[in-house]
Symmetry: C2
């Protein structure tokens, strides 16, 4: 007998038929004698519909506290319907809101962080042989007000419960049947992996493979929660995410592209001490997340600093730099969103110096020009022209995985 | 400076435009320096839509606990939208769910009774100069589970807050601008009353004038909460409901009809001691509410017992009587739903013996046959043929109010 946490996204419970499909998956595990805790998101378009209602009232800036009050109604609907469906199939179930399930968060409405899960109530319901259905994405702050964890927060809710209750596995059901070496819709030769490490999954998630929410993988890594990514429509084993995996032949675990990139360059910068600190400290204070940074020596003793941010942070970054304009001397600042970041990820590559060369060879063979390069222990990323990104992913993938 | 509790029904907040209309009514009172607590129902058809979702999952008997979890999401949506609208108008507001507003109930899901309102949180928000928006219709039981008070429960929520906080007035906004002597859509000469007593309002509510929920009037009477019934679309003084009202010329306060009546007769019953007790005790045990009872001596030393119940309880009543068939001797049991109950109500009538005669005269003049009569201190009801009910209301109304 095991304790299993399962998480289903909004599309998995979008209508009555799908709710029953999910209910059957859940009861299969319950019938085998397992304790089952299920985390559910709001049905299909519910969250978007509620956001539309709020925008009708206040298109610009509805109160974040009230937005959380509003949006958390979405999961309240889905958990009660799923509990009803399980009961209709003849099994005992109980739905719990975030606060009933013991989720304490900080007070950052809309992007709250889980501080603690007091799983006493969940434990009691399991001891009473009930299947427990928990509203994902939501918790309660110290003012007794409802908070939401932000988009994708239901994954984090599930991992938090699994960590708090030392569950045997946390199964994240999605519309794909596991983690692939590349997006299988774009790269026909993409391979589903049986296992992948937390670090590899984190790199893949950051790089645009939107299978798992990053915060949930970080939390799973921190508390050693074994994750499984699998499909709610095609019931078969998915991909296990854990600390250490069996050594495999495959050198790399995934090729991913990220189109949400803006490159900003400060050209002809006077090389005074501490100038880089000044720039990136200001960007951090403006809450701009900088990804790749490149510094190069320019002509005339000046230098160029180039970095990337997500497209939606481009204007914040430019504003932050503009605020510095009287305290530094430079020729020009440019920004460019016509680029993509393409990356290969794999824990094996750190001991294989040939990986970078092989990647660059693949791009060269395909006639694709590399604009910037960034490497970490388990990842190599290149910036290339956006229009060539998909072709680059296929070329690199085919080079490594055959 | 006063403490004002306002209650708005679902149609008053059905869309963004109406939400802003309600927000403006609320802020008018706030601007005058009053403390304002607002109770809101779910928007328009939300509750019906949620019930439809549940019926898709389980058409027969979804868990009552889960139904309450589901339905209470409706007010969660309306309170947050109303708070956003008030903030958009430039005033501070905070929405509170039933449990946040301190509503403790018993555990009868779907028809819960309020046990206590701990208004500490509401008080704190008012002291911080916020307009407080409370979800009507819902509370929390001792298991920390959400309960609902049943249809019309938002009126009761409002009165409970007003009672708990000793509010100066509890204003119930509806789609009519007050309490009339008869349904103004049916009786053109109907008059809006400035004031009416709790007892009169209770009789009118019981008799089918669906302006106020009966439980809320009972609670207002018990705790001496002054009610005002008024329109959210036509802002002018409505009808005050309180313990004692100024003596008015009008002898009666209202004429109402109730079509939801079934008459059940047990004919030719052997007159054994305790037979009436046995019958009505059995009906009470089956949770059948009996309204009018008439007992008459039949032929051959037998008697007839006739009583009325609501139409939806007819089958329960007949089932209860059937269970007694071996323990009593009678000729036949008949039931009839082709009747209506028409009543006049007025606290003044108890000291005016002519009221009954005047009512019967009106019916006689109109050629309407009276089938049964029942009287209380402030009410006279007659059963007549359903097809003649509307004509009867107009005839009686015209006789008394001119």
């Amino acid at each position: 007998m095991a304790l299993i946490v399962k998480k289903f996204g909004g599309s998995s419970v979008a209508n009555a038929e799908r709710v029953f499909n999910v209910a059957r998956i859940i009861t299969e595990d319950y019938k085998k004698g397992n304790d089952v805790v299920v985390v559910v998101s709001a049905q299909g378009d519910t969250t978007d519909d509620l956001i539309a209602k709020a925008k009708e009232i206040n298109p610009d800036s509805p109160s974040k506290r009230e937005m959380d009050m509003l949006l958390s109604a979405g999961e309240q609907i889905s958990i009660s319907l799923l509990a009803m469906a399980i009961e209709k199939l003849g099994f005992p179930a109980v739905s719990l809101l975030g606060w009933q399930a013991g989720f304490s968060t900080n007070s950052s409405y809309g992007v709250a962080r889980i501080k603690k899960v007091d799983s006493e109530r969940i434990r009691r319901e399991l001891d009473n042989k009930r299947i427990v259905i928990v509203a994902g994405f939501q918790g309660l702050n110290k003012h007794d007000d409802i908070t939401t964890l932000g988009r994708g927060g239901s994954d984090t809710s599930a991992v938090a419960i699994a960590a708090s209750m030392r569950a045997d596995v946390c199964q994240i059901y999605t519309d794909v049947d596991g983690v692939y070496t590349a997006d299988p819709r774009k790269v026909p030769k993409a391979i589903k992996m049986d296992e992948i490490t937390y670090d590899e999954m984190l790199e893949l998630a950051t790089l645009g493979a939107q299978v798992l929410n990053n915060r949930s993988v970080e939390m799973a890594k921190k508390y050693g929660v074994e994750l499984e990514v699998l499909s709610s429509l095609d019931p078969k084993p998915g991909t296990i995410v854990k600390e250490k995996v069996k050594m495999e032949k495959m050198l790399i675990k995934g090729v991913a592209k990220d189109n949400n990139v803006s490159r900003i360059s400060i050209v002809g910068l006077d090389d005074t001490p501490g100038i880089a600190f000044k720039i990136f400290n200001k960007l951090a204070a403006s809450k701009v997340n900088v990804d790749i940074i490149l510094q190069s020596v320019g002509r005339d003793g000046t230098k160029d600093i180039t970095f990337t941010v997500t497209e939606d942070q481009e204007s914040d970054a430019l504003k932050a730099l503009d605020a510095l304009k009287d305290t530094m001397s430079y020729k020009s600042i440019t920004s460019d969103t016509t680029i993509s970041k393409v990356s290969v990820v794999g824990a094996g590559m750190e001991s294989h110096p040939g990986v970078a060369a092989k990647m660059f060879e693949a791009l060269s063979d395909a006639g694709i020009n590399i604009q910037m390069i960034s490497t970490s222990e388990i990842k190599i990323s290149v910036l290339i022209d956006k229009s060539e990104a998909e072709r680059a992913v296929v070329a690199i993938h085919d080079k490594f995985i055959d």
